[in-house]
Amino acid sequence: MTPSPDIDVAIAGAGVIGASTAWHLAQAGLRVAIIDAEGPAAAASGASDGAVSVASKKPGVMARLASASLAHTATLAKGGPLSRAFRRRPSFLFGQGPEEAAALDALAAKLAQIGGPVSVENDGGAALLPGCGMGVDRIVRLMGEGHMPGHKAVHGYLASAGDRVQRIWPARLKGHEADATGVTLDLGMSQLRAGFLIVAAGLGAGELWPQLPLIPRAGQLIVTDSGPAGVLPGALTAAAYLLAKTRDGAPPPRPPVVIDPLSTGQYLVGSTREAHGDPRLNDFATIAALMERAAAVWPPLLGRRIIRIFTGVRAAVADGLPVFGTLPDSPRVLLATGFEGDGICLSALIGREAARIACGDGVTAGLEADLAALSPTRFTKHARWGAA
């Protein structure tokens, strides 16, 4: 005899993906519990930048999904759960030298192909951005993108869902048993019975399913003290960052800096892609190299103090695409992980679609093919998935 479910849907992982999913499910009127090994925004979502950017996505599936997610994010920001998290702002991409120039050309072509909501507003020299310094041959100014710190999104979703979502932390999902009527979750000290399980555990999913090719990608970030806000009207991103994201593996020609002006008047400067998962590792050589380029391009940084340096760890997938979809042998378990450097941007869409699947509605029309490309079935030649 299997017990009847305590709740309709259990979500493991209270990062931005889990929190968005929880909110969308609560909106649909389901009984939801969100479980986290530590608490909200404990991993990547609490240690990231937060660009909601189409420009930085690989052309194709990712760029299309990012574009659709950006539109949904903007909707949720109009009086909805993201109203205090998401901010629209222009974004500037800059380049120096032929390789970065080529990357900017490719960017313009990609955006034209998607056809909105992000577009090139201006493309020219350093004069496009008053105050910028040496080391800039060309600047592309984009309209339509935005910024959303991961923890603010998590907070917004959970606060807006209120007590319609049951919070369970600290509690780690250690395994599960799926059957015809639901899923029994093993939380170590206790069990929980749900009709459906969504695993949005970031790198934690790799512990539950070792056959998933999840790899950690660390990124070092720098936070300055605060000063007058609004001097830099939007993120300033090196074209090398686009190259780092699209040409997996090959080192970018110059430090792939992103300079993000935060609403607090602080600057956030990033970032690297390093092949380890230890958030304690920082090194001055890397930080100084990032800062050197950042300050050359945006000299006002020279008047600031660095108050914090830290490392965030993204969950990447070997083939460069996230993992999203139900397990081949248990349709009541859905995996959503491996968003690497794009999870904040994709969270609105992924949460909505995960909720639709859990409700039995199927994904939004038009997204079927792109989401199917993310399905975990692509790793299942022989692997057994059911019992983690």
Binding site: G39, G46, H151, R280, L281, N282, D283, F284, M291
Partner: protein, 423 residues
Amino acid sequence: MTGQVVLVVGAGLAGLGAAVELVRAGQRVTVVDQTQAAGGAIHRQPLPGRPSIARTAEHRRWQSLMAEVRAAGIEIRTETRFGGIDSTGEVLLTGAAPGFLRPKALVLATGAREAVQPRPGWTLPGVMTVGAIQTYLKTQAAPPLGRIALAGSGPLLLAAAAQLCALGRPPVAVIEAGRPFAHPLAALRLPPGYLAEAAAYMRRLVVARVLILTASHVTRISEDAAGLTVEIERGARRRRLACDLVGLHDGIRPNDAGLPDIAPIPVVRLGDCREALGARAALADGRNGGRRLAAQLSGTLAPALSQELQRQRRAQGLLARIYANDGADRLATLPGDTVLCRCEMRTLDDLRALGPAPTDRMLRLDGRFSMGPCQGRFCAEWVQRLAGRSGPARRIGAARYPAAPITVADLLAAQKSREGESP
């Protein structure tokens, strides 16, 4: 690739004690200190041209240690700030000579810092730590202007008050939360030096007729055109006192730079930076720790831990009993608008808005506690207590670089010094 020198951070008793012993054991040592002269907290040196206000015994101890330092030929780089050691073992130095260094071992002897418990008005201009007032006295050899009130708890209040008397500006009051004079038996068990020192301070205060209130708490500090007003509570009685400057001090804590412990070389913390036991312990701990580190580096047998440490630990335990008070319990009754984090002016109400049992991440990311330039050095302890944590948590979440804010310009100056370096 590690270098040949042992880097000692902090030129106080512990740092120099360690440096001298390391050199004696055949190690090469560089000492850095962020201030203008060696001395640390206890032997803070006067500015050039100013006399020293140190007592004779203190002065002698310092002179003899410095003689050893000179004899050992130890280089002390002053006005040089330690920015941290990264996970590859590289140290960032900023200030007088910015640059990077790869030491073979690191001694952190950065001393203690003061704890100041939040109370309404503690962030007003004119309110500082008692230690900051003392630093002023030692470097300027003159008292700050105006009427001074000292409040909080611990032997430092009496010491600073006596120094103010000696410089001709007795404080208007010493407001001590504990009842140090109500434990004569415990006091008698203190090492003799402690009692003699306390007696000398008390004589000064009595002669200058300084108002000493015990079992008393400053509940609020406010400001008007005439200066500052402190509100004092003693049991059911209240009184107000006008002054221009308030020194607060609620004990000392190790100033462990809060760095993640992942450097690939030996890193030892010595003196108050490891355990705040005061000057007598710091010198002993520095010397002993220096010898132990030298033994570790050369693969020889380490000497036993210093006996002096045990003695001083007992003495500090007695002092804690003598000064025991319920000050920390008052946190729970603070008004909601009391500032807890002065970097970003976050209040008790902001903390309560996070709901019951917030996680460290929620305290940081949603509450923005410990996110400012001080990285929670001053507020973490109180925030953790108020958030219902038990145990002495002195930080919220993982330790982060840098040890103290560094200017972007300094970082780039250090980076520049790499150029022309042989690979």
